[in-house]
Assembly symmetry: C2
Homo-oligomer: 168 residues x 2
């Protein structure tokens, strides 16, 4: 998670305070959340939703990250993916530094409105390690106990050293 901005806080990044007010109405009872026709996001104790981004063309899961109210509002308003980094406590636009932006083709919300799914047109790649998807390793099934060896499936499509500026 928090993929797409490697390392710790950088100079020049967009840093905003947590939004005190949200444009969204507070979530109601279960029946309203599940069958209602108004978006009333159920943010967690940290003010966040889980967001799954999939490739609109292939259906592959590209990344899992988080949105606060402001990131959700900006994503809805602009059709470009914005997230909130838990580690850096900052709002960030995907591709802000690398240029690897995500244009949102469709957004969905889940039954209890604590997760959103965005289908995106991914420019170049989603993962800061250089792979198109953050999920570049398979976990073999059928093993009972012992260390589980991962299988690398996806090659790098860019050099992360070139895409992200050196740390100051």
């Amino acid at each position: 998670m928090d993929c797409g901005l490697a390392g710790s806080r950088r100079s020049g990044m967009t840093v905003v305070e947590m939004a005190d007010k949200s444009e969204f109405a507070a979530p109601g009872a279960v029946a309203e959340l599940e069958e209602g026709s108004e978006l009333t996001p159920k943010f967690d104790g940290d003010g966040l939703l889980t967001c799954v981004a999939t490739d609109a063309a292939s259906g592959d899961v590209l990344m899992v990250a988080h949105m606060n109210a402001e990131a959700l509002e900006k994503t809805i308003a602009t059709g470009e993916a914005w997230y909130f980094s838990r580690s850096r406590q900052t709002l960030w636009k995907k591709g802000e530094e690398s240029g690897h932006t995500q244009r949102v083709v469709e957004m969905r919300v889940d039954c209890d409105q604590d997760a959103v799914w965005i289908k995106v047109e991914q420019n170049i790649a989603a993962c800061h390690t250089g792979r198109r998807s953050c999920f570049y390793r398979a976990v073999p099934l059928g093993q009972k106990g012992g260390a589980v060896k991962l299988e690398f499936r996806d090659a790098r499509v860019f050099d992360p050293k070139l895409a992200y500026r050196a740390k100051d």
Copy 2:
């Protein structure tokens, strides 16, 4: 989230205590997490990973839920999806009550090993509301401010009143 088991704790459900020990090695430094070939899950403060389940045939996101170490171990060992419910603090096998099981075709882990993606063969439907996916409502894009109206996209494929037993 926690979809597939509607309502509060039921009689007859599998209830286990949080596993004290995990078969997985502790996560290492960032380089090991990202480029290592051993599964060393980075569970959060509550001992959980985020899990995204997609339909192996359509690529649609079916649900977002959580796994503790035991759920992850059981999913890997059996090839059937197990989760951990945050609201009920219980391990549960998907479809335990409804019969709407998930056979895992492939499992992937993300760059920092705090999320897994499973491609599944979903029996009937993933969502306890009766839809195949929990993400049955679209969020229209381009709106700046004001209440956001959701658009229902997916019809029910089963009657939740019949699939889940009445509360005792």
